[in-house]
Amino acid sequence: MARTVIPFGPQHPVLPEPVHLDLVIEDEKVVEARPSIGFIHRGLEKLAEKKDYNEFLFVAERICGICSAIHGQTYCQAVETLMNVSVPPRAVYLRTIWGELSRIHSHLLWLGLMADGMGFENLFMHSWRIRERVLNIIEATTGARVIFGVCKVGGVRRDIEPDAIPGILAELDSIEKDMRDVTKVFLNDKSVKARLCGVGVVSKQEAWDLGAVGPMLRASGVAQDMRTLGYAAFSDIPVVPITRTEGDCYARCAVRCEELFQSVEIIRQAFNRIPPGEIAIKVTGNPAGETITRTEQPRGEVVYHLKANGTKHLQRFRVRTPTFANLPVMLKILPGCDLADVPMIVLTIDPCISCTER
């Protein structure tokens, strides 16, 4: 049978950011996918050689608009490790709360994009309507909606006043109820299931061998979540990774749906346990040494590798983002799928190309 090459991206309705795939197809089946990235490489890692390590935090937070809070947190954790700085407990809890709010809005964003990709516009709008309410909480507590800029080396820049907590928790209760309604549709609707069930299946072994991370890995049955390492307040608030065994697009969607409620519960626990006290300590001097720090972004494990030589500039700043780790497994599952399923498979890795190219 004759083969045809169909270009997919870099501009495509389901792609929020540019990535290109040459899809080799026979009839309607994809037999090969050749990736091409690099359209938006920004050279942020190189910038670390020119920016003071405190200034560079603002760059790290801009690696990704959606995971900005956890990028800032991970960068600060890595520098604090190098400088042997202990962050005040209240700041640790605040970082956890903002990190989980960030996870909820990221997952809701993804659910909306997924619904949009399926042509389910009503579901897309409901998902993003709820996300707006999460962003409102973030704005009320940090002053910004997407790139919060609340973390700093040694703690956080803002506090959440005790008087504000009951209102936030009441709003979260209401958001949780709305999320239950929306996720019921994602998990039970016949048309959604028809698009996702049995599509893009990755076995547990394949996902592990190909270095998958986050919901992509957990949806194939591997219970791995970097929050179990106990960073931030996760030493006090244990996290049990949410897993599924099907390994298909539906399982990846289901893992993210369940993680919404897990994050709400973590935020509730964090507000119940948050200790009083200062939110930052003064940090002086320059970092020295080397560290590899891992945290759990909404899209999966992020790895920060920092080398410092005692000057105000980092010797090396390197980030491995979750999408970078999930690209190989995506390329593995595309061959054999129907052309019409390509958008679903690409979307279920929750691709963030800005993160990937840094």
Binding site: I37, G43, H305, Q315
Partner: protein
Amino acid sequence: MSPDAIDIVPLEALLERVKEKRDRGCRLVQISAARLPEGVEVTYSFDLKNRLSNVRVLLPDDGTRLPSISAIFGCAVLYENEIQDLFGVGIDGLALDFKGKFYRTTVRFPFGSTKAPAPPPAPPAATAAAGPPQNTN
């Protein structure tokens, strides 16, 4: 991460050490390169049961090439192409070689190169007369 969590090995022992990691059931977490005065340091990080272990090699600035581990960990190709593009490290045995086109950086080898970059080919006289050369990076 303390320095003793990094296993520094000679280049010849790299593939064997990486195979050991795979046979133990490790996941490849990342490959990271760093420019040092004496060359490029390449660190391979592995995860097993949430424990991180690292294998490191040093490539001197004399054109020494790095063996690809993509036959052992298929997902290594993206990391290796990235290192090839950003650090100018030559890599042998890449399962999928983008030949320097993985990232479209305006600066070739922004972190330096372990090898002297090949001089750009002189344009034919007719092409040169037609207009300015295109930046293909």
